[in-house]
Assembly symmetry: C2
Homo-oligomer: 104 residues x 2
DNA sequence: TATTCATATGAAAAGTTGTTCATGTGTTTC
DNA sequence: GAAACACATGAACAACTTTTCATATGAATA
């Protein structure tokens, strides 16, 4: 039996297109952009991030989890703290491209 | 009277952060990614786009308007048709960066 | 000018998302 | 081991998005 013809758009499968959209969803919220941008400096714990971006701890934790699931950041425990840092080289490039667009 | 201290995260104002998020929202939906990706080939009219991405005309028109408002695409009328094309050099780069991330 | 083709648009429904609140878990310190 | 500190999590609500349906507008053609 022949395999069901799957929709693709010039080599991109429906599944890959959805993954792409999910990835960009991570950049589609200003709280998450603040977190990512804050981590440009390097590793920080949750309390530091909360102070830097002026958001409460619960909201930040929820967004950190989303960013981690999307593999944009990683974490390690350090005593009572959990340290977060960027986990993808493309994050900076993507945000920089965005900045260039809005600065035109 | 001193100006009210405005929140900024390392030089990015709250306003710019919201603009950035709004920009990335445009990439955060697979229908819009399909449209943008489809336009990598060059100018196309609405009917062509609908066929390529297999979506109905109304849904596509709504998304075309969003992309145009965000200045990612531009349009010109050609007889009965309206031709759409990319209006930002960064669009390809941003999508390519996204592809690289998910392909890891 | 009536009809047809191409596109745009408004309203409504269904789904998704972000924040808050309350509370739970893990780690250190006393 | 009790208290304090740091972080995570589930539920609930409000706000926002995307698609569909119906219909409107605009341009070409008979």
């Amino acid at each position: 039996m022949p395999k069901q013809k799957e929709y693709t758009l010039k080599g991109l499968s429906e599944r890959e297109l959805l993954e792409l959209a999910d990835l960009f969803k991570m950049f589609a919220d200003s709280t998450r952009i603040k977190i990512l941008y804050d981590l440009f400096d390097g590793e920080k714990n949750v309390t530091e991030i909360c102070e830097d971006i002026e958001m409460n701890q619960s909201a930040v934790s929820h967004q950190l989890r989303a960013l981690k699931t999307a593999k944009l950041i990683k974490s390690r425990r350090d005593g009572k703290s959990v340290m977060y840092s960027l986990d993808d080289d493309h994050v900076k490039t993507i945000i920089e491209m965005g900045k260039e667009h809005i600065e035109e």
